[in-house]
Symmetry: D3
Subunit: 323 residues, 6 copies
């Protein structure tokens, strides 16, 4: 079985049989010059993408017409080129069975470096640290409704933690930082801070859509993750009977965590907890970019490529302590 | 009866008896050097303000301690000066009766140039133009809960329509512009646009507080009028059974109407109606500044003072058409 | 006859005879390594472009050397490829006769959705609404000198109304909005506002050059459309005997209509008419982007591509009203 | 005879007879509470200002009603205070005769450190260096129409060269720098550069108004000095028969000399001469702030006050070279 | 003994004998109208300031001429007013003895809430955690040269930790946060991060000057604290024999810690340690503003005054947990 | 011998023997799919670049593994294409001897239009004009340590004077302007200004690295040229015994010459010399862009391409003076 990158390295002038496991990322209807419609289907894995053009008279047409973006397929066919772009034929195609998905995930998309299960377990431990029952219940309830999405969604489409399960990794790392820092900042209420950290970006589970091929949802465009997270939290809190004072403050953390209005905050942070959460968010986001640059830079380079979020390339060599 | 400005023009070196009707704008507890507490009370009318210091042994102490900001009082006493500031004594003080308030309003605060009643009636006419019943019901229900505040609140604390009932004036004027422009922009859905115009700033009825002395409320600081308007609209719409598609769009108009993220929009306008409403808002806000500069500039000046929102002083003379 | 896009879809490995009608967009002299000069000629239609390299010994050399950018040609030859780029041979070439141009316009360039003639007639109607004779005469005279350019020039090179006759479409639409709004804003002088709307962007008829291939003219670079429009208006007004007071104000509308200095305004709007015209300009420009996104987005997409001027992709589906 | 500052230092509790020569800076009609009108007249010299209130029944009323801002008066009366502000009585007032103005100028307003006559003579020398006759004629003609204003107007209302004749000083200094630098920059046409330097800010002679009390004129507000300078130059050039190519370029220097659009440039500099003039303008403006800080900082300070245009206080001590 | 605020509350119309301990904040030479020089001396304590004018014939003249800003004096005299400003006479003045200074400090200036000694001891503990000897030696040596200034200087002149010993408080708090967070961010070298935190703002000990009356020093204006801290660290490191690799990185932390170039960073953070330190700096600076707002807001207010560094007033009430 | 551009124009379908002199610009280790490492080597001259892939079993592998970026090679082989990109074989490769480098320089990289030797001689003349011996010694010493780099480094990687020896050209041109302007600005100390001009960008000799293939050095990333120039100057000045006052000021010129903090200045210019040097830098940088646009624009164009640093395309035609 080959990765897409490997297929593209096969000799261009021969039609080589291949087999690959790929995600269907996008399927869109296009109109040919003669007005007949065709489907432009994009397949890919972590190493690259290719397009497959499927006309109405193809045996695969119905399959692709109804295909859900993000579905994983095993495809077979021969390599080919059309107008200088890699355009393999597809002779056989089948959905990869649910039970096998986990096995291929790593080759299909970039994932958080810590397994999802471990992250989830650790997160439960942090929730357990929230003492006030209605607050804990609010967090549990808001989260459980979106558990599936929350577990897979990236931390961002570009910028920091921009890979599968990146949001959960970022949230857990922020919980760790929060718990470490709370003893130093007496003026910050621990329960509110921890609940705020866990829920601050939950709206992204509604803003983004698609399991293996993330894009912005309709509500993501129209409302944005800040308001969606506020709405999800509000509903859960009302159900959990959270007091008005606490709810105002918890919502405020979510509404203000982006820091500056031009970065998408609805208001500026105006409680000790909101200032604290937005600063911890900023710290961990930036460190996430550092971590990613460190692990994705080839060994023979001293500096990573330019990291937009840092405004600089990162020196990736470890400091040398003289023996 | 004298205005505050008139009292300040009386001879400084005599204690002149006076009577005035004023709003209690602010009352705050302060600590004297000897650790005894006293109250610093601010009174004012449209023409100016003065401060009254009330110590614990004063017969008025309890009255001021429990006074509600924005209450109207009739006060009597003598003019006096303390450390060069106007500090009249107060020998008699009584609340102005509810029934008399209307009579004094004009001398106490600046008001919209159109009477509240007329504005409200005109607004009902615009609501009646909304055809889709659940949308009309949403607008009615969201508005009726905040009718009292909506009728008095200014359009902004500074900037445009910054006077009593300014928000309602601005809303009605936007309705007029909206109705005039709709036939020209087919791509804009009339019902959604009109509902959006009426509700776009409704959150200010929750963001601001105080009838005659407007400040930001706790929720104003923590959530901001954009999110508060969204929340008020959402609750009303769910009660009214508005469809999800329409609600998404109506909420989007409110969330995006401020235009730019740095001006407080939660998202950028991304539907024809939202782009339209935010542009009509901008137009009427700027014209509101023009109108205010025209009516508040002394007759002998060619230009108004610098208008911050326009970035220029305004030429207030009418164009001269040769006979 | 084929569009350029169609020619590019013909089999690459055969030389296929073709005939096409195309605009000569650009012809520039280049120097080959051996110091002999050649011409690099760019042809195109609405669907795409290709380049033709013409050496000094070619029979077409003189023709292309003297060719005017924006001329329409009928070309014949065979498809071919050079260094992987589409480089058809040209065996026969002839100018399309003036009388046939209209027939091909639609396939050569994108045009405003309303026919030029209708726009022009409607515009005359708006001019007729200007009561003050010298003002009407100013508008007529300024416009008539540039009628030909005004009728074809786009509203902008990128951004809003960026297609043939887009400027005239934008101007007419602004007239409509202006006339609809004037009854609502008493403080705005109708004659000045209407004249200002019609002339506000007239300078673009001098800033842009080329009928079918628009670029910035020398004066466009050196003076900009704001000053060019001011100059054109000033000359016409002096001829028409417009009074100094009215001319100052009319010129001010043109000089300030861009809104902000960094967007190219020479001064900030400082009369009621100037504030009004710049706001109506902003409204119609944004709505023009909405209209364009609506008509150019493929039917199967919910959202248009990202629209730079809106800062968002546009939701193109109509609202669904439950039956 | 006393300066205003000296008058303010006389004992407050006595009415001391005084005589002073002052500029009438501003006279505005105000309405008293009893609806009778009065005049608020501002007098001042270089050392300070005071206000004189003149009621309708005063013998000076007609005089002040018709007074021209910027007129110089000799006033006599007694010192007095009203509401803690210096409010002297005026028993005698007379216009200072034209022939005496020069004598008092220095104590009335801050002036350029070089005498006007010398600056003007030097400027004529620079004009003489322009070789191309129509260009020289353009400069002479544009300048001569505004000679009186040009000789007295400040370089700016705040910022650099903000004192009487500051514009002429700045222009002459730029000429010197221009002539010194031209031999180093071959690509800059000397005639155009010199003409551009001399005319670049000429529009300020129309933008500002008032001889001894400078404010923005009506045209200053509506058109701004960039466009006014362009218009003045254009008229002179057409009269002088300047060729179109040269006029385009000369106008471009004026339109672009402010450097950035947000600083008021109509277009960005796009010829060698325009880039050069805008850079020399920037250099001399900044050095003008340095010169002013050096001569206005008290001797015992190491640093001047914060200079807004430099973004820093200036170290005013000379470098110390060890003997 | 009275505070300055108390002196100002004494009856204005009597000359009351007083005694006060105050800091001489500023003494500057001024010239009177008659060209004789006098001294304008500013005295103050935490509660307020007053000015004393001392002419050449005064017995105190020599004393004030040679006085060092920031010296503490015990003064006696009588209250008085001149031109409505508090201008007490001084009959007796003497320097407060070194040994007494500590006793008066609290009433003279605002101090960090933690005693200097405790902060210093805690800081020594953090230095001890640095394992690499040359790095520890660098920190010790750089710090010991400026120990006196470092212990007293504020964290900033305005903004965060803007009170005596505020810099040391901020540094110690950052050390605590650093040590708490290091276990979570493996990619950050602990020794470098800790050394960077301790030295990051050390340059302020050279940028600011004056013990009890802080202003910017000459070098503060000319070089700024970032470069001064770099220079101090570099000298200490070379003496301590720190390796080039580690020195480059330590210097980089100091040069980049301000975050953005426009906030004064010489370069953008480009090592894991530099990103980390700048983020921890940001976190603790913002929390310092929160702490200050909490302890300086009167008890009867829900919100603090507007905090410029947060862009909002802070809600100072603690969250209410229902019993 | 062929340029790279010429090689790329040879027929694609034949393997043509070639010989070329090229710079090795970059050599990086990559990993193939089968985990074996290979080298990706980039060669180029002024006309273009190509890549050569060298596997471990190649006879050139060791040579390329140890190759220094910026070395000049004579290569022989045959033209070839791989995946449509020009990938010639290399059969013979040898270093070009030191003595021949000068001969090829012009075809390998773009150079300053004035020969290095002349620039250097002229610079020595300017140094000789510095009167104060320790200042002259500081300049000489700081420069001599970096003479080799200073002579070749570009003025910037992009933007102005971005070609070999561009920094020296820019420095010499600034010296000329400085010497021409000094007589006009008495307040500027000539010795400091000239020393400041010569050293202002010296740090770039440490910020950039590589003779024929310039990139940012490690220190360039971590410290930036402003701080590196400061450090180089400081060391030289201490050795030369420059007084503290003069050193503070010389360092300040270097630290502030970038003008604005966001452009990399460590502090804002706050001495007459620093303001002057930063303005002359700005002037010559902009004129350098003008000069480059003039000499690199093809003769048949009126305007250059868009020049980012000017924000406009430049009109490159000379003004036409009527005969």
């Amino acid at each position: 079985m080959n990765t897409v990158a490997e297929l593209k390295e096969l000799p261009k002038d021969q039609k080589v049989p291949y087999e690959a496991v790929v995600v269907l990322r996008k399927s869109s209807i296009r109109k040919a010059r003669n007005d007949s419609e065709f489907l432009m289907v994009e397949f890919g894995d972590k190493s690259g993408v290719f397009h497959y053009i499927c006309f109405g008279n193809s045996s695969h047409y119905q399959l692709f017409l109804n295909a859900v973006e993000g579905t994983i397929y095993r495809v077979q066919g021969s390599t080919d080129y059309y107008q200088n772009r890699f355009s393999p034929s597809i002779t056989h195609i089948e959905k990869v069975h649910e039970s096998e998905v986990q096995r291929y995930l790593d080759r299909l998309v970039e994932c958080a470096p810590i397994p999802v299960k471990e992250l989830w377990t650790e997160l439960q431990g942090f929730i357990a640290k929230i003492n006030h029952a209605p607050l804990k219940e609010t967090v549990n309830s808001a989260l459980s409704e979106l558990e599936k999405e929350f577990k897979t969604i990236p931390g961002a489409i570009s910028m920091h933690h921009a890979y599968r399960s990146g949001l959960m990794e970022h949230t857990v790392r922020m919980c760790r930082a929060c718990v470490s820092l709370l003893p130093l900042y007496d003026e910050v209420d621990p329960d509110l801070a921890l609940a705020g950290v866990i829920l601050h970006d939950l709206g992204k589970a509604l803003e983004y859509t698609g399991d293996l091929a993330t894009t912005k949802s309709r509500l993501g465009h129209l409302h944005g993750h800040v308001v969606l997270g506020y709405r999800q939290t509000r509903r859960a809190a009302i159900k959990a009977g959270l007091s008005e004072d606490l709810l105002d403050r918890l919502e405020h953390i979510i509404l203000s965590h982006q820091g500056e209005l031009e970065w998408g905050a609805a208001v500026k942070a105006a409680t000790p907890e909101a200032v604290f959460v937005s600063m911890v968010d900023n710290l961990d986001a930036k460190m996430g970019m550092v971590q990613y640059a460190l692990r994705s830079t080839p060994e023979n380079q001293d500096f990573s490529d330019y990291v937009a979020g840092l405004g600089a390339p990162l020196l990736v060599r470890k400091p040398q302590y003289p023996a």
